[in-house]
């Protein structure tokens, strides 16, 4: 009798459209959530670990995880949305959130967050929150954050007569130190970074533009030209390998780990992997600024959890997001990411010096976009820096071409 009444009440709720907010774990029918992630099952990674823990705590929800390659996740998700065969939950790269949101492909989380007893939007760092916000509504939950810093080979610094405690703070200092550290006879470059023609290259390039006072929307301005001219000088002077143009960030970083580059620009993901095999002392520093006292800037990266608009189980999926949010304190030590929210009493962080650098750098980390045409904008920027670095065009001309592609995208369905 009681059960029956409950069911009745429950279905009423469902009819009134409030079922989404109704959390009745013991009585709801078992639900299976389809979840796509870029992480791989054979690693100790956030998606798999948290899903397993969540399932243990919520026996009424089963999470079926599928690994999708980093490069394919946006395409696969779009195709799945178009054919109605999509997952409930998926992680997509944060600059892509706007595209999906603009096409009404994502569930609007704002009302759910407003009701949530777990998620407090005020605790988010502004950058990560902005990266999942489109037209004032929140469409995703950052699964963590990352940003770029300068990694330094302390031993190489000392050998070159430099003080690793005084890392280069400006572009000129960086170039000057790189010159001292570069040793072609030993196959050592001063700096390793990535100028590859994909999103990773854009990710690495924009902080330099922003530090000089520009951004993606005015890429052809003096800041863009200054940043690109600076990058060009690094390659032309052979302070960084010419293969920088085709190396992904982790490939470039590997040359640093092997001692073939004395400095490297990369993110926190390196800390959980390759750096452990480095046979030298290392430290981290903020990215250099253009001029003394200049603006700090860095990139803001990481995927965000989103719930697809056509999910049949948004309430259950949101419960999982609440769990993810509640575990952000573990991001650094366990998952190789920075937390996206302020952690009140953090556990003792591993690599404390690097942690301090990254937390400081997060203050300057900027969102790419948001713009539903981000992929077009980003491709134009990549084309510009690649053609200037290969001397097929002058920086100013290359960036002007990029601006001509970016301008219509900015006016699009913004």
């Amino acid at each position: 009798m009681f059960k029956h009444a409950c069911r009745l009440a429950f279905s009423r709720l469902a009819i009134s459209g409030l079922a989404i907010l109704c959390v009745a774990p013991a009585r709801a029918a078992p639900v299976t959530l389809q979840f796509w992630t870029i992480e791989k099952p054979n690693q100790v990674t956030q998606s798999y670990a948290l899903a397993k823990e969540f399932e243990a705590k919520n026996p009424d929800i089963h999470i079926e995880i599928k690994h999708v390659d980093f490069a394919d996740v946006s395409n696969d998700t779009m195709r799945a949305i178009a054919t109605g065969a999509g997952p409930d939950l998926v992680t997509i790269d944060n600059p892509e959130v706007a595209l999906f949101a603009a096409h009404n492909a994502l569930a609007d989380l704002s009302p759910l967050i407003a009701q949530s007893k777990v998620i407090d939007p005020k605790r988010f760092f502004p950058g990560p929150l902005a990266s999942v916000t489109w037209k004032g509504h929140v469409f995703g939950l950052p699964r963590g954050s990352n940003t770029l810093v300068l990694y330094i080979n302390d031993d190489a610094f000392k050998a070159a007569g430099l003080d690793p405690a005084q890392p280069p703070a400006t572009w000129d200092a960086l170039r000057e130190d790189a010159r001292k550290l570069t040793d072609p006879a030993k196959g050592v470059y001063g700096l390793a970074f990535s100028a590859i023609g994909d999103e990773e290259g854009t990710f690495q390039f924009l902080p330099w533009v922003q530090s000089a006072g520009g951004d993606y929307d005015k890429i052809s301005g003096p800041a863009g030209v200054a940043a690109l001219t600076f990058w060009q000088s690094l390659i032309d002077e052979k302070l960084a390998s010419h293969d920088t143009l085709i190396r992904a960030q982790s490939d470039a970083f590997q040359t640093f780990v092997n001692g073939n580059a004395a400095m490297a620009i990369s993110g926190p993901w390196e800390l959980s992997g390759p750096i452990s095999t480095a046979k030298f002392a290392w430290s981290t520093a903020l990215l250099p600024v253009q001029k003394p006292g200049g603006t700090h800037a860095s990139a803001l990266g990481e995927h965000a959890f989103v719930i697809l608009h056509n999910s049949a189980h948004p309430a259950e999926a949101f419960r999982f997001l609440e769990y993810v949010y509640s575990q952000e304190g573990r991001d650094w030590n366990e998952f190789g990411m920075l937390p996206s929210i302020r952690i009140d009493n953090p556990a003792a962080p591993q690599h404390p010096q690097a942690y301090a650098t990254f937390i400081e750098e997060m203050k300057y980390a900027r969102v790419r976009g948001p713009n539903p045409h981000w992929s077009v904008i980003s491709k134009a920027i990549q084309a510009a820096f690649q053609s200037a670095l290969t001397h097929q065009a002058q920086p100013a001309a290359a960036l002007k071409d990029a601006q001509a592609i970016i301008d219509p995208a900015l006016q699009g369905d913004n």
Partner: protein, 276 residues
């Protein structure tokens, strides 16, 4: 007379070895890299053979669940080969036997439909297969799509073999009262068997490495293939080149061995003019 000929053969053998060695260098490099320690892999300049052996085949095989990946690859390749041979043999025969506008048009169509790489065809195929419910049996879906890619290749390869079979043999069988299907199955197919076999093996080997269709049509990891497993390994934030090369080596070595065992017979038979 005998001595110079023996010498010539030895010299030819020597040149053959050198040519094969040059051609196989990339393969050697895969094995050498697989056996090096991470530090040695990135050494500059590179070492030509592993100084310290760092054998990770077992770890890679287990950690990357290669057993089931390889099984799925083999299953898809076998299915594709069977279907391709069934569909393609008759077509190759007809296209070799006749010469008229319709046959020309069919041959043209078969090739034209090959124009686009799978990376461009896969989205419409995904949409269509999804509508037809074929994605519920994803490995079969890949077999269908991959067969579409392999049938034209098979037809083109086999057509040449059928063209070499003297028409008189078939006509003689028909005179003796054999029906068309009987003449085809009992006379033509056995005479062209070497061509069919070689083409089938090439189709099988090509399909073992199929990537684009498997990646897009198979969503469950348990049904996924070895090439997709490798791609996941190659993806962002991995620089485990030793592991990648170990994976590649595990992937291709069994195929290489089976092939090395079979090829002397097949290609030897084929090129020694067994048809004459």
């Amino acid at each position: 007379m005998i001595l110079p000929s023996v010498r010539r053969r030895r010299i030819d053998g020597g040149i053959g070895l050198v040519l094969a060695a040059i051609y196989l260098f990339p393969l050697y490099w895969m094995y050498a890299t697989a056996l090096k320690s991470p530090a040695e892999i990135f050494r500059n300049p590179p070492t030509f053979w592993p100084h310290t052996l760092h054998i990770t085949f077992g770890r890679v095989f287990v950690e990357h669940a290669m057993a089931h990946y390889l099984w799925n690859s083999a299953l898809i390749a076998a299915g594709t080969t069977v279907l391709t041979v069934l569909l393609g043999t008759g077509a190759a025969y007809v296209l070799a036997r006749h010469r008229n506008r319709w046959v020309d048009a069919a041959l043209f169509l078969v090739l034209l439909l090959q124009a686009l790489p799978p990376s461009l065809l896969v989205t419409p195929i995904f949409v269509a297969f999804n509508q037809l419910g074929l994605l519920a049996t994803p490995r079969f879906a890949v077999v269908l799509a991959q067969t579409g890619k392999m049938v034209p290749l098979f037809i083109v390869l086999c057509r040449a073999s059928f063209a070499q079979v003297p028409r008189e043999l078939e006509d003689a069988a028909r005179m003796d009262g054999a029906s068309r299907p009987m003449a085809f199955l009992l006379i033509m197919v056995p005479l062209a068997r070497n061509g069919i076999l070689v083409s089938a093996i090439l189709v099988f080997l090509q399909s073992m490495g199929e990537y684009v269709y498997s990646r897009s049509l198979i969503s469950s990891d348990a049904l996924q293939t070895a090439s997709v497993g490798l791609r996941g390994f190659l993806g962002t934030n991995t620089t485990d080149w030793g592991g990648i090369m170990s994976y590649s080596a595990i992937f291709v070595t069994p195929i290489l061995i089976v092939f090395a065992l079979l090829q002397t017979r097949i290609i030897g038979g084929l090129t020694a003019g067994a048809l004459k």
